[in-house]
Amino acid sequence: MQALACIGAKMATELKRLSYVSRSVADDTSSVPAELTAIVIQSLRFNHAHGITGFLTWRNGYYFQALEGAAQTVETLYEKIANDNRHYQTAVVWSENGIQERIFSGWRLKLWSASLTCSEVNRYIQLYADRFDSLDEEIQRRLSKIFQLDLIFSSEPGDLPDRHAIFNYEFRLQALPSVFGLTGQHPYCIDVLTSLLAGWTSPAQLTAQFNLSPDELHELLSRNEVNSLLLKRNAESNQDNRGMCDKGTFGELSHNRSFYDRLRSVFMGSHK
């Protein structure tokens, strides 16, 4: 009885990481599953309340999710997930008890696009890469479908884009969802990101154009850091009359006029 109590106590405090793969019920495997938004929003609420962290990704009709948390909570959650009728053919890929630390400690549930790279997911992949060959062949096949970087590596093997091209592409993709998603975005941010989006400029040119260091530019693309950085830079440029806003698309705008007047001047400038 005492041994059982010890096991129970250990389960409650021990950290576990469990990863699974499943198939979406969506017929069209080339599109984004219609149920995805609901799954993520509901999961964020649950995970926040129960100390679960991890990420979810999908591609080609498959889901992959990594869950971290108290062992008992993770196991109970996985049972619930496996019985969810929004996916099927659920299979555990890796399940590890007694992990020393979380990889995704800041992520209640990151919806991660397989076309992007990020340090947490890279660390996760590196951690489990050498266990890939020992997986069941069907699971290996599914993981290959999910993690293939088809958006970036679309050319034939041996004819991959150079690192700079990949970096540019990732850079633009990273910029879009996390930065534009903030309500009431600062116009300079729109300026910077539109430049990236349009392929108008490379990150290297951008750092020069907007007087940002590479580190600052990366910081700019990190969620929630955008406005504070841009406002800081804006304040600095006002002080010494130089900086990013002097050279950007909206560089000619005066800060003394209303936002609407500034827009008008942009239009007039572009139609002279």
């Binding site: 919806l111 969802p177 998603g181 309500t183 729109i190 990101l193």
Partner: protein, 181 residues
């Protein structure tokens, strides 16, 4: 006015089309809001086109059009499709967003082929926390990527002029980026 272009806001019921046109327009908006005959969560809904306008200096005016997002209104889409300067798809933040309507709009207007700057504007996002909103935007970004459509997904407060202005600012920046490409 020597030049007149159109900025269309397309979205399904309750996404904020009428509100954003009212927020941005300099003139009194001509709307076609009518009392709802079924329970859609609000008293009035748009049955045609909302119309407003911004004068841009002496040489250009921008017509603001709020257009229903359902494909059965595609005759109205035809109307705004001529001289289109930019296209904003409005989607309400929720657990079950209408992504099918987005695909119909993309297929009809063909923004890439027709070189029309496009943006997805997420509305009613004030109740969403940052992580949920980011995930929501990621889903829509992936839908755009699946259609090879490079466009922004941005959260907008339709009642705020500064926030709503992000849409024409972004579209103008896209035009200028192309001129400079």
């Amino acid at each position: 006015m020597s030049e007149y272009r159109k900025l269309a806001f397309v979205g399904t019921v309750g996404t904020g089309k009428s509100t954003i046109v009212r927020t941005l327009s300099e003139i009194e908006v001509i709307d076609t809001d009518r009392a709802s005959t079924v329970d859609i969560g609000k008293e009035f809904t748009t049955i045609g086109i909302d119309y407003g306008r911004i004068a841009l200096g002496d040489n250009m005016a921008l017509g603001l059009y709020g257009v229903p997002g359902q494909s059965r209104f595609s005759m109205l889409w035809d109307h705004v499709n001529r001289s289109l300067w930019g296209l904003a798809f409005l989607v309400k933040y929720s657990e079950s967003p209408d992504s099918d309507s987005l695909l119909e709009v993309i297929d009809f207007f063909q923004p890439v082929a027709n070189d029309i700057p496009f943006v997805v504007a997420v509305t009613h996002a004030d109740q969403a926390d940052d992580d949920s909103l980011e995930s929501f935007c990621t889903v829509f970004q992936e839908i755009l990527t699946s259609r090879s459509l490079p466009a922004a997904v941005m959260a907008i407060d339709c009642t705020s002029r500064d926030s709503a202005m992000s849409i024409p600012l972004y579209i103008n920046a896209m035009h200028r980026a192309r001129e400079n490409a």
